[in-house]
Symmetry: C2
Subunit: 182 residues, 2 copies
């Protein structure tokens, strides 16, 4: 199902990535596109994300060469697709076609968003100095797209070994925070 | 409630951190201890974790100077405590005492585990070269302790702005994985 997304401030990226969901990284290079599943990411600033990408992944060279990617956040309705994407290699197939995913045009990068994901973050490589030695890519989030509903997206979280956790209930603790810490 | 934990292989750390829970970082330096809440972390190898720690946090200097920390994973029964820890500054108070948390002895580091958390990962600083410029600490996990139950811990995930997501149901997708990818 295609999710109609709206542009939000890139500084709100944490609302969607800090909870730690599995993401789908889309990339494009020399006329080809690819998608990989990724759980090894973290926020390192309000508008910056770090990812570990193994150099055996087809996406490693594609993102390194282009200096761009889109971080897309899938929900539980896409669980079979998420697993299947992680189980095949992008060198041999076009994953958008194989998995019947819709490539949507990005605003700031030459990489397609995945229209079926509820959130997509366009990223440009900020620092490549940790790629060679550690496989770490530091990304600036340059544009953020999020579907306004549901408010409590049922994101997918990976525990390794084929086991997943699905996002559960939302709890509002605002009353317990100091105002300046919100 | 104190959780009785068992030692597990450090290579299984991802099972507990990759889903992206809020963690409590315990630290110790010059006879004092501290605890901070942290959501900005990521796996970067099977036995390595990266954390962003703001240099205004009391824990920044304590972990940098000692080169050690423990990453503890709380569950939803500790939600009030997690929020309260994030809302006070360790320079002025002893957080173990203030929040009635139990310091348990670690095996490999001179930092206490938080006995009430269901999982605790003893860490030694692996690389300090990104601390000064970026606030990024690269940690080797040197010992892992996890309570055998529950199998599906109700971890706490932060969405910013005082909003949390609590870990929901577990889904076993092993049958959909290629054997070598598990």
């Amino acid at each position: 199902m295609i999710r109609t997304k709206r542009s939000i401030a890139v500084s709100k990226t944490r609302q969607h990535l800090e909870p730690g969901p599995i993401v789908l990284i889309s990339s494009a290079w020399k006329g080809k596109t690819n998608i990989m599943t990724l759980g090894w990411h973290g926020m390192i600033a309000y508008e910056q994300v770090i990812t570990y990408i193994w150099d055996a992944n087809h996406s490693f060279e594609m993102t390194r060469q282009s200096g761009e990617c889109v971080i897309n956040v899938p929900t539980v309705d896409m669980l079979d697709t998420v697993v299947a994407i992680g189980n095949c290699h992008g060198k041999r197939i076009d994953k958008f076609t194989k998995f019947d995913l819709t490539a949507a045009e990005a605003a700031e990068v030459n990489v397609p968003l995945i229209a079926e994901c509820y959130a997509s973050f366009e990223c440009q490589l900020s620092d490549d100095s940790l790629i060679e030695e550690r496989g770490l890519f530091i990304w600036d989030v340059v544009k953020a797209h999020v579907a306004p509903t549901p408010k409590n997206p049922r994101t997918i979280h990976y525990r390794g070994g084929g086991h997943f956790m699905i996002a559960g209930k939302a709890v509002d603790m605002r009353r317990k925070f100091k105002r300046g810490n919100l």
